[in-house]
């Protein structure tokens, strides 16, 4: 049967099981949006800016383990997606981005709203396509979904000229995929697996570093079995949080620049590191020269290019985390490591990294803890970037698998609100808490409109310290306290929320934190709490930039209360 390119796209999306798309339209994507009217089974979330469409699709993919789809028009629509695509690329998120393009005869003529989006996104997509013939569209969509969701997931962009969307051709959805340059790898090499198991059985001070690969592979049970069977302590990278139960006695928290002191010490004293589904990002490793100096390293990752990229590895295992860990579990003996675990327990006692002072100041740490208390971990937490993100990573106990959504690799301010939209759409039954920075929130604050229009009951906690907080912290510690352009004048966020028909309250006192959170949770719809927190509170522990994990700074014993007066509006 003959169909237009636009219909073929819709048919293909339906066949791929797409239930929702995030987007905003414009001239060059109009035929596709027009065709959407014939496909009511595809829910459309109309965002206010394309960046939000990409972040929402990214977060939707993370929480559902499906492919997130975002749609934008040509030119500025497409370029506005770029930050979101880069974010998805850095964090290995399965996403398909569909952009309109000017009609084929206008390509290369600098036509109105023409931009070379495949050229622009070349280094930030796993692959991209420029569709030159409607007859190829179905095949391209099938390939795009396959590439986005398999191996190491990532974003794939499909650029479709307007006349291709209107062109009528015979529609057949291909059954097979023919990608000779893209082979699936799943099982690790059996020799390497045995070698890894032997090292585990012989190790005295082993540590598991679990990354986002465990979550992508949904290898929660396998990881827990390995840790419990061989009694190996587990630490996480930022994006690995939610791969292992946060309340487990073998769990020692996040490692890295703002990791727990005991987690960093564990890594630095280990004789064996099992790096599972992680890529030795510099924020996790600190200075690589001093990283885990006593350890042999087993690195399990599905992407061969990650192995040996940043850290030399003793036993490389390329494969899907779930199948590799399962295979290792068969070879691993029941272990003890009592002394080692005792030692870690002592370090945890000696370095209580999560201590916050109790002088009555409204500290952001307490906000996060109260949100945990109120939810008991039964929530999806979406964060912004910087201090709010680190406090959310540190002070919430992630008891549920895959319950933290955060921008790790790219560190995109403004991620929080659109990502919360994607998370809520993907997990409608779930409580979704958006932990926003006052700076980041204002980068995508327009998405409050999307939240109201789509009736999404997202709970927003603004950690409002009136600064671009993490940058201010660096200025304080490393730039002689010269606060150049980090101080923010902020609007009244509760009034902004009110203008978008979202109720909001402001909290200035510690004793008001819990009641405010309770009120937000009880309210049936979206709710915003503006927590006016201590302006110059710092995130500790901290590994100063360029230093090794052995040089983790704890919170100064008596951090002097800030000399700046608390802001009042």
């Amino acid at each position: 049967m003959k169909k237009t390119g636009a219909q073929i796209l819709c048919e293909s999306l339906v066949t791929e099981g797409v239930e929702v798309i995030f987007g905003i339209l414009g001239g060059a994507i109009l035929p596709i949006y027009d065709a959407f009217s014939q496909y009511p089974q595809i829910r459309r979330i109309l965002v206010r800016h394309e960046q939000a469409a990409a972040h929402a699709a990214d977060a939707y993919a993370r929480v559902t383990h499906r492919v997130g789809v975002c749609v934008a028009t040509s030119g500025p629509g497409a370029t506005n997606l770029v930050t979101g695509i880069a974010n998805a690329y850095m964090d290995s998120s399965a996403m398909v981005a569909i952009t309109g393009q000017v009609a084929r005869p206008f390509i290369g003529k600098d036509a109105f709203q023409e931009t070379d989006i495949t050229g622009i996104t070349l280094p930030i997509t796993k692959h991209n396509y420029s569709v030159s013939d409607a007859a190829e569209l179905a095949k391209i969509v099938k390939e795009a979904f396959h590439i986005a969701s398999t191996r190491r997931p990532g974003p794939v962009l499909i650029d479709i000229p307007r006349d291709v969307q209107q062109e009528e051709v015979e529609f057949v959805y291909p059954e097979k995929i023919d990608l000779p340059g893209y082979k699936l790898v799943s099982r690790g090499h059996s020799v390497q697996i045995r070698k890894a198991a032997r090292l585990i059985n012989e190790a005295e001070r082993p540590v598991i570093i679990a990354g986002r690969g465990v979550i992508i592979s949904q290898a929660y049970a396998e990881l827990q079995e390995l840790a419990e069977k061989a009694q190996i302590p587990v630490v996480n990278t930022l994006l690995g949080i939610g791969s292992f139960p946060g309340q487990h006695k073998l769990y020692f928290g996040m490692m890295g620049m703002h990791g727990m002191a005991c987690a960093n010490m564990a890594v630095q004293h280990a004789d064996l590191i099992l790096a599972i589904g992680m890529r030795f990002d510099d924020r996790a490793t600190g200075n690589t020269k001093g990283f885990a100096p006593h350890a042999q390293i087993v690195h399990i990752d599905i992407d061969p290019a990650e192995i040996g990229k940043n850290i030399p590895v003793d036993v490389p295992i390329v494969g899907d985390v779930k199948s590799v860990v399962k295979a290792i579990n068969r070879e691993v003996k029941h272990g003890q490591h009592l002394d080692w675990l005792l030692q870690l327990g002592e370090w945890k006692q000696e370095h209580p990294s999560l201590e916050a002072r109790k002088d009555g100041a409204l500290l952001p740490q307490y906000v996060i803890r109260h949100i945990f208390e109120a939810t008991q971990g039964d929530a999806t937490v979406v964060t912004g970037i910087g201090q709010n993100q680190m406090w959310a990573a540190q002070h919430f106990v992630y008891t549920r698998p895959n319950s933290l959504v955060s921008s790790g690799g790219l560190g995109t301010m403004g991620f929080e609100l659109p990502a919360a939209i994607g998370a809520k759409v993907g997990r409608s039954e779930d409580v979704v808490w958006c932990i926003a920075g006052d700076g980041g929130l204002q980068m995508t604050i327009h998405e409050l409109a999307t939240i109201t229009q789509e009736n999404l009951a997202i709970k927003i906690a603004v950690i409002n310290n009136g600064f671009l907080g993490m940058v201010r912290q660096w200025q304080e510690l490393f730039y002689g306290r010269r606060y150049v352009d980090t101080k923010l004048w902020n609007p009244d966020f509760t009034k902004i929320a009110e203008a978008y028909s979202i109720p909001g309250i402001r909290v200035n006192r510690t004793e008001d934190i819990a009641p405010a959170i309770e009120k937000a949770m009880d309210y049936p719809g979206a709710f915003l709490i503006d927590f006016v927190v201590e302006p110059e509170e710092n995130v500790y522990p901290m590994v100063p930039p360029g230093k090794s994990l052995s040089q983790t700074l704890q919170m100064p014993k008596r951090e002097v209360a800030s000399s700046c007066s608390r802001r009042r509006h």
Partner: protein, 152 residues
């Protein structure tokens, strides 16, 4: 790699983005229809070369990547050298060209254009010898290479 639009850009973009150094690059059809063979000469230690190989392998349009550094290979490049030639130097130049089993492919009133094929050393040596006569123009391809023997 697949012979599709934009594939060369994908490879070039990868090298630029990751800071890998290309010494030379040559691309053309392979023995299989629809597939091109690209020969890239890169500099770097074994870890760098390994990264380059793995990153290239991740490109969807790249079918196979082989590092043939340590293997028995045939490697050739081609140069066209337009060298200044007067009646008094012409014979001398042609003798040098003969020794290198190169060819004179164009003769002008004050120049000769020499075509030379060989490995990088041979091309460099000829170029150095001709330099004293005065080089007017030089065009040089990248290296193409195949492994020796029956298996690839």
């Amino acid at each position: 790699m697949e012979d599709k639009p934009g594939v060369l850009t994908r490879v070039a973009s990868l090298f630029r983005r990751r800071g890998f150094n290309i010494q030379s690059l040559a691309v053309g059809h392979s023995e299989q229809p629809g597939l091109s063979r690209m020969t890239i000469v890169v500099s770097g230690d074994s870890a760098v070369v390994e990264q380059i190989r793995k990153q290239l392998d991740k490109l969807i349009n790249v079918i196979r990547v082989s590092d043939i550094t340590g293997e028995h290979i045939v490697a050739r490049e081609l140069s066209l050298i337009k060298v200044k030639a007067t009646t008094s130097t012409r014979n001398e130049i042609m003798q040098i060209v003969d020794v290198f089993r190169a060819n004179v492919v164009d003769v002008g009133s004050d120049s000769l254009t020499v075509e030379v094929t060989g490995d990088e050393n041979k091309v460099n040596s000829l170029f150095e010898l001709l330099r004293s006569f005065g080089i007017k123009e030089l065009a040089r391809t990248g290296t193409v290479a195949l492994t020796r023997g029956g298996i690839s």
